[in-house]
Symmetry: C2
Subunit: 209 residues, 2 copies
C-alpha cells in the first residue's frame, strides 16, 4: 500500500486542495467556501456542499460577534471540546456547554423536556453576545425558537446542524424562520463534529489570516 | 411545520427504528447491527451500512476486552469526550487521549511526525488490555501498524475510522492487514463522532441489557 509523502504540517492544506478540486463546478460564495470545505474536511461528505444554507450577511455578523468576545453555547460537550481554544483565546471569545450541569438536568426533568432544551434556557442568562451551536438535539432549536419569540434571548448567530431522524429536519426549518442569523445544514445530516467545524472555520477566518 | 410528538426518553428508540426500516434489504450480521446503526445514528449517513468492515469474531473479542477493564486510547479529545463515561465506569474500563500531553508534542516534534503518531508510542506504556480508537489521524494507524510489527504493543481491538483525504484510505487498508482485531470504515469517511459511536455501541451491548 503506497502512502503519499505529505509532511504533517501540510496535510490540512493538501486536504483542502483535494476538496476544492472535487467540488469542481459547484459554485459557493467566497465568504462561505472556507466553512463548507471545513465541514467536508471533518466528514468526507460532499453532501454538505449542497445542504448548507446561510442567511443574508451571516458570515460578517458571525465574525463581528466573535471579535466582540462572543460566548459560543454548544449542546454537547463533544462539540465544545472540538472548538479551537487557542483561536477563541486570541479573540477573547469562549465556548461553554451546560449539558452536564445539575441545574440543567433538574430543570429538564421538571419540565418533561430534554437537557438540551434546558441548556437554551440557561443560555438566556449569559451576558454579552451569544452564538448558539446545536450539533445534536433538535429540541434545543425548537426551544430556542420559542425563547427568541418570547424576547428572552437574541443570539448573534445560530449554527443549526443537529443530526438524526426525529424532528431534526423540522427543527432546522423552524429555526430558519425565527429571524436570527443562521448557518444550517438542511436535512438529517450534521453532528457535533460539524458544529465544531463551522465554529472553527469562522474562528480561523479571524485568527489564521 | 409539524413536529412529531415523541417523548425525550423515546427519541433514540424511535431513531433506531427508523434506521432499521430504512436499512431495508441490507443484510448485516446480528452482532454487528447495533454498531452500524449507532454510527448511522450519529451521522445520518447510510454509507456506513456498506463501508464498515469487521474482522472475524471482533465483537466478542471487543466485549471481552471491555469486561476486563480495557483502556480505550483515542486520537482526539473530542472522541474521548464522546465516549459514555457512566458505561465505562460500570465496566471498570476507561478512555484516555494523550493529544494534549506536553511529552507527546515534544516527541512528535523531535521525530518530525504527528502528535497522533506519538500518542500510539505512549499507548505502548499502558498496562492491561488496550483498545485503540482512531477517528482522525491516519498517521496514528500507520504508526500503530509499525509498533505492532515491532512487538511493542498488542491491542485487543483497533477502531480504524480516521476521516479525510490524505492517506486515510491507505491507512485503513494497512491496519486491516496488521493482524489486530479491527472495526474499520473503509474509504474516506469516519470521524471522532464515528469512533465514539462505535465505542458506545460496544459499551451499551454490555451495560444496557
Amino acid at each position: 500500500m503506497h502512502l503519499q509523502n505529505v509532511l504533517p504540517a501540510d496535510i490540512e492544506k493538501r486536504s483542502m486542495e483535494i476538496i476544492g478540486e472535487e467540488l469542481g463546478q459547484i459554485r459557493i460564495d467566497p465568504e462561505k467556501i472556507d466553512i463548507v470545505k471545513r465541514v467536508i474536511h471533518t466528514s468526507a461528505d460532499f453532501d454538505y456542499a449542497r445542504n448548507m444554507l446561510f442567511s443574508d450577511g451571516v458570515v460578517e455578523k458571525a465574525l463581528d460577534a466573535l471579535q466582540k468576545g462572543a460566548t459560543i453555547v454548544t449542546d454537547t460537550n463533544m462539540a465544545c471540546t472540538g472548538i479551537n481554544k487557542m483561536g477563541l483565546g486570541k479573540l477573547g471569545a469562549k465556548a461553554v456547554c451546560f449539558m452536564a450541569d445539575p441545574d440543567v438536568a433538574a430543570r429538564a426533568k421538571e419540565a418533561g423536556s430534554t437537557r438540551a432544551a434546558a441548556c437554551m434556557e440557561k443560555a438566556c442568562t449569559i451576558e454579552g453576545p451569544v452564538i448558539i451551536a446545536v450539533g445534536n438535539a433538535p429540541t434545543a432549536l425548537v426551544r430556542l425558537d420559542e425563547l427568541v419569540k418570547e424576547g428572552k434571548i437574541k443570539p448573534e448567530l445560530v449554527i443549526g446542524v443537529p443530526v438524526g431522524f426525529v424532528n431534526v429536519v423540522e427543527s432546522k426549518e423552524i429555526i430558519m424562520k425565527t429571524g436570527i442569523p443562521y448557518i444550517v445544514a438542511r436535512g438529517r445530516k450534521g453532528g457535533s463534529n460539524v458544529a465544531a467545524a463551522i465554529c472553527n472555520a469562522l474562528i480561523y477566518k479571524l485568527t489564521r489570516k
